[in-house]
Symmetry: C2
Subunit: 144 residues, 2 copies
Amino acid sequence: MIKENKNMTTSEWEIMRVIWTLGEATSRQIIRVMHLKTDWSPSTIKTLITRLKNKSYLIDNGAVRDRLYKPTITEHDAMTNTLHQTINSMCAMCVGDAITNAIASTTLSRHDILRLQDILSQKLSTAPEAVACNCMPNNWEDEQ
Amino acid sequence: MIKENKNMTTSEWEIMRVIWTLGEATSRQIIRVMHLKTDWSPSTIKTLITRLKNKSYLIDNGAVRDRLYKPTITEHDAMTNTLHQTINSMCAMCVGDAITNAIASTTLSRHDILRLQDILSQKLSTAPEAVACNCMPNNWEDEQ
DNA sequence: ATCTATAGTTTACGTTTGTAGACTTATAAA
DNA sequence: TTTATAAGTCTACAAACGTAAACTATAGAT
């Protein structure tokens, strides 16, 4: 019953963060780390690891014990996908404003800011005066 | 059984988008619009409206029929909250990069870009060279 | 006054998620 | 060699979710 394509849940995401940081990890390591920041029982963590394997976000080295779990997707890619999904579910007209707000309250490194500035100045030349709202289907105003 | 504080699900979010756009709407209007972009049955939409009311994202005008539903939160605020939650669940060290990627593939208006540029140049003066990863709890490396 | 279409309410049902105990088995210790 | 600890698997269970049929009641049509 391996199901790919399913999204990670928020709890599963937390598990992935520690594995991403460690590169690869045993359940013991994951349990130890999670114990420091949550009150999840070892069983709960084992269940989440199994579900992540079923969703194909983790693979293991096949050891029968002290098995090593490794991500099949980089943290960077997972974050980009998630952000994309979030942004795509939002009104195209308003999303710029929401992103701006989000950035205002996020700590960015000098490097991030410089790259962002670069991208923005490139976008500026071709930027539209306004972006159309896409909350409604086309022709929703037609009489029927 | 009114439960506040619960997050909107993705289906509920779609319903909210049409109500946000219309300002307020009857179930008939919502059903008609959603019918143009999904294959959800009228029943399904009614259920989602009820759940949004229970989660206090919608209030109605109390009419016994042809009731008007109104959002209790603005689209802007909902979007900002959602983005915040998404960003806060991510590694602080990498999130700038992910946001940058997201922005690179999002259409922004001239106005959005100008405001963003303004905010970024303000942030630049105090920006750190790098942001620390916050995927792990403090002292996770201590022997125990 | 009766009927009909439909807005709103109830009930339903399989799947996913959060959460975790119970069980099985392998390795390290005695 | 026996045993205890714990890694991995199975089972569990309530709540949330996606999805929708059935039921109730009301306003408009005849």
